[in-house]
Amino acid sequence: MLRRKLVSSLFVGFCGAAVILALIPLAMILFFVVSQGIRALNVDFFTHMPTPVGEPGGGMANSIVGTLILTALGSLMAIPIGVLSGVYMSEYAGTRFASAIRFAADTLNGVPSIVIGVFTYGIAVLPFKQFSALAGGIALGIMMIPIIARTTEELLLLVPGTMREGALALGATRARAVFTVVLPAAAPGIVTGIVLALARIAGETAPLLFTSFNNRFFSTNVTQPISSLTVQVFTYAISPYEDWHRQAWAGALVLVGIVFVCSLLARFATRKMSGFTRS
C-alpha cells in the first residue's frame, strides 16, 4: 500500500519536473527577447525604414509589411489547396489514393524548410531570373499545405456521421452535404489550424532566403524582392554593428508578438464559433 502510494507520487513528481524542464526554454526565450528587444522598440520601429549603418534610429516598417504580404500570399495558395485535400482525404478515407495523399502530406511536412526554399528557387526564381515576394509566398504556401490538409482531415472525421446523413436525407448530394453541413461544422477547428499554420510559417527564414530575398526599400510589388522580419533579423544579427544587433532583437520581439497574436486569434475564433457547433 505504502509502496504504491510512493511510486505514484514519484511518478507525478517526474511528470511535473518534465513540464517545468519543457517550460524553462520558453520562459528564457521570452525573457531574453523581451528584455533585449524592448530597448530598441518604439513607434519609429513600426513606421520608419532602416537607416544606413552608423545612423541611429530607424525601423523595420518594410520588413513588417513584407512579412504580412508573404504570409498572405502563402495562405492564399495553401488554404484552398490544403482544405480541399483535407476534404478529399476524409471523404475517401480508406481508399489507397487517400492514404497516398496522407503519406505525401506527412512527408512534405517533414521536409526541411531550406530544401523547400531551394526547390522554390528552382521553380519560381530561376526561370524569371528574379527574386520575388511571389516566390517567397509559394515557398511558405508549400509549407502550409500539409499542415492545413491534415488538420482539416482530422477535424472533418470528428464530425458525427449523423449530420451528414441528415443532409443527405433532405435531398443533398454528397458534395452539397460536405460543403454546407460537414465543413461548416468543423470550421472553428479548421480556422484554428489555419491560424496556427500561419503563426508557424510567419517565423520561417530558410524558405525566404532564396525566394523573396530581402529589400532595403519599402515594396508591395509581389514581382520584386521583398523584405521580411525573419530575413531582416538574420541579416542584422550576423552583422558586426551594435545598432543592428539592437534592431534585430526588436525585430525578434515583433515576430514573437505576431505569433502570440495569431495564437490568441485562433483561440478567440474557436470560442466565438463553437457557440454554434457544440451544445
Binding site: T162, G166, L170, G171, A172, R176, S279
Partner: protein
C-alpha cells in the same frame, strides 16, 4: 397487460387482409434481401404499406428493422459494401431502378433519425436547409412562410418563434428532435421514415412526439422503427415484427398485440424475450 386494455380484442385476420387492400399501397416491397458485404441482414422481406397510416417496425436489436427502414429511401447507398436484392416500389415506381434520382427520392421519402442531428446552424437555417438546397422557394417571404408552417406542423413554433436565429444546439433534446421533424416536413415529403425518434427522450418529450405523429398521419405516410412496444401499440395502425432479419408477422397493430398468430410474436410482445 396494461397495453392491451386500450385495444379492441375482436379483430380477426380476415379484417386485416381487407384493410390492406382498400387502397393501392404507398410502399410495396417484394422479396427484399439485404447484404453488408457477405453478411445477409434481411431475408426475403415482402410487405405493403398503406398511405396515411402509421406503420411500426418492432423487434429486438439487430433484427434488421433499421436497415430495412433505411432501404426505403436508399440511405444505405452510402454504406460501403451494402447491397439490396428484390423490389421496392414507392407509388408503383421501383426506387432501385438505374434511372432513379436518389435526391428526388429522398425528397419524397423524408427521414428522422434516432439521435437528433440538427445542423450547427440557427433554428431557422435548419428548417430552411432543405428548401434552399432543393430551390423550393422563390422569395424570402415564401421561405419564411414555409419555415413557419413547418415549425407549426412539428408543434415547435410557439417555443422558438422568438429565437429563430439562435443556435439549434441550444434547444433541449425533445425540441431538437421536433426541429429535425420540422426540417424533414419542410420539403413536403409524402412518406416520413422515423428511426426510433423518441428513444433518447424523456417520457414527456416522447409523448409530444407521439402526439405529433398522430397529427401528421392525415397528411403523411409514416413508418416508425421503435424498441418501445407500448409506443408501437399507441401510435401505429399496422405493425411488422422482425426477428433475425426475417419478417415474422405483419398486420393490424391491435391484432398483433392481442392475437398474434405466431408464437414468436406473442413471446416478444408479451415481453418474454427481446
Amino acid at each position: 397487460m396494461l397495453l392491451t386494455a386500450t385495444l379492441s380484442p375482436t379483430v380477426s385476420v380476415a379484417a386485416d387482409a381487407k384493410a390492406t387492400h382498400a387502397e393501392p399501397p404507398k410502399i410495396d416491397v417484394s422479396h427484399v434481401n439485404f447484404y453488408y458485404g457477405a453478411h445477409r441482414v434481411l431475408h426475403d422481406i415482402s410487405l405493403q404499406i398503406q398511405p396515411n397510416q402509421v406503420t411500426a417496425f418492432i423487434g429486438p436489436s439487430g433484427c434488421g428493422k433499421s436497415t430495412f427502414l433505411r432501404s426505403l429511401n436508399r440511405m444505405n447507398d452510402i454504406v460501403p459494401g451494402a447491397r439490396v436484392e428484390g423490389r421496392v416500389l414507392v407509388d408503383g415506381a421501383d426506387i432501385y431502378a438505374p434511372s432513379v434520382d436518389v435526391v428526388a427520392l429522398r425528397r419524397k421519402v423524408g427521414m428522422v433519425f434516432q439521435k437528433s442531428n440538427p445542423f450547427p446552424k440557427s433554428i431557422f437555417e435548419n428548417v430552411a436547409y432543405g428548401l434552399r438546397i432543393n430551390r423550393m422557394t422563390g422569395s424570402k417571404d415564401e421561405l419564411r412562410g414555409r419555415v413557419e408552417a413547418s415549425l407549426k406542423s412539428a408543434a415547435l413554433w410557439d417555443e422558438v418563434k422568438d429565437r429563430l436565429h439562435a443556435s439549434a444546439l441550444a434547444l433541449s433534446g425533445g425540441q431538437q428532435q421536433r426541429l429535425c421533424i420540422a426540417r424533414a416536413l419542410a420539403i413536403e415529403p409524402e412518406i416520413l421514415l422515423m428511426d426510433e425518434p423518441a428513444s433518447a427522450l424523456d417520457p414527456i418529450a416522447t409523448q409530444r412526439i407521439e402526439e405529433l405523429i398522430y397529427q401528421l398521419k392525415s397528411r403523411y405516410t409514416i413508418v416508425i422503427v421503435t424498441h418501445n412496444m407500448q409506443q408501437a401499440a399507441r401510435v401505429s395502425d399496422t405493425t411488422a415484427f422482425f426477428w433475425l432479419g426475417k419478417l415474422v408477422e405483419y398486420g393490424r397493430t391491435d391484432r398483433i398485440f392481442t392475437a398474434p398468430t405466431e408464437k414468436l410474436t406473442e413471446d416478444y410482445v408479451t415481453g418474454r424475450f427481446g
